[in-house]
Amino acid sequence: MKLQQLSLFLENRPGRLGAPLEAIAAQGINLMTLSLADTAQFGILRLIVREWEQARQVLEKAGWVVNLTEVVAVDVLDRPGGLAQALKVLESAGLNIEYMYAFSLRRGDKAILIFRFEDPDQAIAVLTAAGLHVVDAEELFSHVA
């Protein structure tokens, strides 16, 4: 039920973002989504790709420090209040979100929320029990197949 997310350390200066993305592209690997967190001095690039093992290998071979994290994807209706509804469930269960990002699917009326929790299994149980739909890798990537 969990997704593998790759994280990369980047210095916060011009041109640093392009290189790892090019390295992945050269392998024919398509990005499902990404998020970039930054401070004045450095940033963390987080990637969701189907071929995460291959991407990780390529990036590490090229010298990047890559971190592998399990994250949870939830789909909600792509309309006002979609995210708020999911957040309310997490809040009432007292679950802390480390960080999150979201994107819309090209087809259909769904948006995907990616959550990073300290305990993803507990979060999945809470979300599922509340009737929310947790998306696994197979289902997620079938949207772009």
Partner: protein, 444 residues
């Protein structure tokens, strides 16, 4: 001593400076007598020195001439660390009236001691230093060297008082207050690190004060290396004569050597501190005029005699007479060192200290480098550390914590604030052989 008859702006000579002008033969007599006494004292009271002499089959009687000093073993900075804190003392604590300390190579400070006599000698050599820089009774000296464990503040303080100048013990830092004192107290002389004075010049400009309009006449600068270009900058921007002084805690603090009006090398107060130059690789003695590592022997220190202390400072001895008339030999201004010590804002920092801090936080040693810059006259130290898989996290907060822990560990060990930057792996240049750990962009 009726200093008022001698030591005013018109007279310009204080009797304390008399040893500066001893005839060479008389000076050597004094040196030999004192050398024999200090070697005997160290032999009797300092076990480490005694063992080293005995290992070579030597006794203090081996010193028959000044040249025999070359037969004695060297003392190095790690000796002070290995005997921390009091192992090299030659006086019982009851005779010690003062302790100072400075940073060592691995985080442990080195401790130095002074008897009443040592403190008096220190005041004397600092008085001679200020006299050589043209100070006299009636001068108002702003002492911006730090007061405390650092030897700069108190060393300059007692010397200036002994000379009969008026001392303002403002200590280091607090630039606003420095400028207020400088502007309002009729300050005619100031002592601090050269980089701090450049900072003062810039801050004075910011608040619309032109130092050239003030009575400030003399700047006495030490505790870190600085260039002739920097001297020219200081002299033209502040309208002062800028003098270089030299010293180190292990020997006494400031007061080992000083420039004179000629600004052409620093006279070593060699009736108290005997200078030699050696080849830093072989330890062999080099003749006057040749460049090598400066080695100093304290001829009159009681509490903590230093025999052939390797300073790691690279210079050469000038034995030709000086136009000022002083017979004391001079050393060229120190430009570099034979080890990797960095002097930043008067604080001694070794890359090994930074390594110890990084190791302490990360468990393994990441690739790193130290970058030194000078911003608005103040030295800044940045440490770039490559991110390793061990510390990398997908969470910003976790990385910020790593950064803060690294910076804090370095600050604790080195005693200096650093700008810690996490950088991408493999971005710090690897060199074959010795890594280039220090990038100095200060244009010293």
């Amino acid at each position: 001593m009726q200093t008022e008859l001698w030591n005013d702006a018109a007279g310009g000579f204080h009797p304390v400076s008399a040893p500066d002008f001893l005839p060479a033969a008389r000076l050597e007599e004094v040196q030999l007598r004192r050398l024999r006494a200090v070697v005997a004292r160290a032999f009797e009271h300092v076990p480490l020195f005694r063992q080293r002499l005995e290992k070579r089959g030597l006794t203090p009687e081996a010193i028959g001439s000044l040249a025999d000093i070359a037969r004695l073993p060297f003392t190095v900075k790690t000796d002070l660390r290995d005997t921390y804190p009091f192992g090299l003392f030659a006086s019982p604590m009851g005779d010690v009236v003062r302790l100072h300390a400075s940073s060592g190579t691995t985080g442990k400070p080195i401790v130095v001691a002074y008897t009443r006599e040592d403190v008096d000698v220190w005041a004397e050599v600092m008085a001679r230093t200020f006299a050589a820089c043209g100070l006299h009774r009636g001068d108002i000296l702003q002492n911006a060297f730090g007061y405390g464990l650092f030897t700069g503040g108190l060393g300059a303080h007692y010397g200036a008082e002994a000379l009969g100048a008026t001392v303002i013990p403002v200590s280091g830092g607090n630039t606003e207050r420095q400028l207020m004192v400088l502007r309002d107290f009729g300050v005619s002389a100031l002592c601090c690190t050269p980089s701090y004075f450049v900072h003062l010049i810039e801050r004075a400009k910011d608040v619309g004060v032109d130092l050239k309009d003030l009575p400030l006449r003399v700047g006495v600068f030490g505790a870190e290396p600085w260039s002739d270009a920097m001297r020219q900058h200081i002299e033209s921007e502040a309208g002062v004569r800028a003098y270089d002084i030299y010293g180190l805690s292990e020997i006494i603090g400031p007061g080992v050597a000083s420039e004179c009006a000629a600004q052409d090398g620093l006279h070593v107060f060699e009736d108290h501190f005997y200078p030699e130059i050696i080849d830093p690789d072989t330890g062999a003695s080099l003749p006057d005029g040749e460049e090598g590592e400066l080695v100093l022997t304290t001829l009159s220190k009681k509490a903590m005699p230093m025999i052939r202390y390797r300073t790691r400072d690279i210079t050469r001895i000038i034995s030709e007479p000086c136009v000022c008339g002083r017979t004391l030999r001079r050393i060229r201004r120190i430009g570099r060192r034979s080890d990797d010590m960095i002097i930043i804002r008067g604080v001694n920092v070794f890359p090994s200290q930074v390594e110890a801090a990084l190791l302490q936080v990360e468990g393994t040693l990441p690739h790193y480098r130290i970058i030194l810059t000078r911003e608005r006259g103040l030295d800044q130290m940045a440490v770039e550390v490559e991110v390793t898989p061990e510390v990398f996290s997908d969470k910003i907060r976790a990385l910020e914590e790593v950064r803060a822990r690294l910076a804090q560990a370095i600050e604790q060990i080195c005693g200096i604030r650093v700008d810690l930057r996490l950088v991408e792996p493999r971005t710090i240049e690897r060199s074959e052989g010795k890594a280039r750990r220090v990038i100095d962009q200060r244009n010293l």
